[in-house]
């Protein structure tokens, strides 16, 4: 069982960074929905004009930082490592299997995977870490204002939902395009010995 260098890096980009980011964003959405109506147990403090500014628990801080890091790692590794392999120009007579964009564009029935799918994915993907960063920053740095203003909670929830949608679009198209024209090549690594 072997894997090529480009396949391995593509897996790290999509399944490790992208996959974790998508899962973590969904978790953040659940967290935001759970905390949408802040705890009213401190009603006596609210009644005298002060409210509790409980800092985010340590696990939430680490979780949100890891989520944002995974999001940026996904788009940066995609744009600077995987995408150049995808869009590389094939020399005359080359095997197009090593040039995914050229392979897709070589036939009218597959050109849409690039012209529509990749063109959408390569741009919309960036909206997810941008919005995810803003959401995490508000939750970590401005929890008191987030607790105090319903409009803030609604807005942050909306941006988190859009970040999730953008990440889903990018991840979904990435997975489908990589099935149609996989990024492959480079050195081969043996992951497991042959069963024979």
């Amino acid at each position: 069982m072997e894997v090529t260098q480009r396949e391995l890096v593509t897996m790290i980009h999509g399944m490790l960074f992208g996959g974790f980011f998508l899962l973590a964003l969904f978790g953040a959405l659940v967290l935001l929905l759970d905390r949408f109506n802040p705890d009213r147990s401190n009603s006596d403090r609210i009644a005298v004009g002060i409210s509790p500014a409980q800092p985010a628990p340590r696990w939430q801080t680490l979780y949100l930082i890891a989520m944002v890091a995974a999001g940026w790692a996904a788009v940066l590794s995609g744009a600077t490592i995987v995408y150049p392999w995808y869009r590389a120009v094939a020399p005359a007579g080359a095997d197009l299997a090593l040039y995914p964009q050229r392979l897709l564009m070589s036939h009218p029935t597959t050109a849409g995977w690039h012209n529509f799918g990749m063109e959408w994915k390569e741009h919309v993907a960036w909206i997810a870490p941008m919005a995810g960063t803003m959401v995490a920053w508000v939750l970590l740095k401005h929890r008191a204002a987030w607790n105090a203003h319903r409009a803030v909670r609604t807005t942050v929830l909306g941006f988190a939902a859009v970040a999730f949608l953008a990440a889903m679009i990018a991840g979904g198209w990435g997975a489908m395009i990589n099935k149609k024209a996989p990024v492959q090549g480079g050195q081969s690594y043996q992951l497991m010995g042959s069963t024979k």
Binding site: P52, Q54, A79, E119, W146, A148, H149, F159, V162, A166
Partner: protein, 114 residues
């Protein structure tokens, strides 16, 4: 034990408004640059910061830089202010929606008259 700080019930929402609006503007600028680079060969060449990635490198780098600059400037201006958040939020969502639309290839093509 978790520490609980007591703060005024209506803390300034300016820093959050700055973050939200800057994020919306950043997403909008990403969409604008993506469509503009698609429609103009000279702009695409100018945005080709990293040749293996092509114009996408410049489109995303410039959009992120503008987003962060916008965030920094707005955060400095609104540091201690309490704003009409619903209004700021409406503009932020409008920019975000336009940014999303502009990254959608059929909409970009329509915009470029293709």
């Amino acid at each position: 034990m978790t520490e609980i700080k007591l703060v005024p019930q209506n803390p300034a929402n300016g820093p959050i408004a700055a973050a939200v609006l800057a994020c919306g503007i950043g997403c909008f600028l990403l969409g604008v640059l993506a469509v503009a680079a698609d429609g103009s060969k000279s702009l695409a060449a100018a945005l080709n910061f990293y040749h293996p990635t092509g114009p996408l490198s410049g489109v995303t780098s410039v959009a992120i830089a503008l987003w962060l600059i916008c965030w920094t400037v707005l955060a400095a201006r609104w540091r201690n202010k309490t704003l009409a958040f619903a209004r700021v939020s409406a503009f932020a969502f409008l920019f975000l929606a336009l940014g999303l639309l502009l990254t959608f290839p059929p909409f970009g093509d329509l915009f470029l008259g293709r």
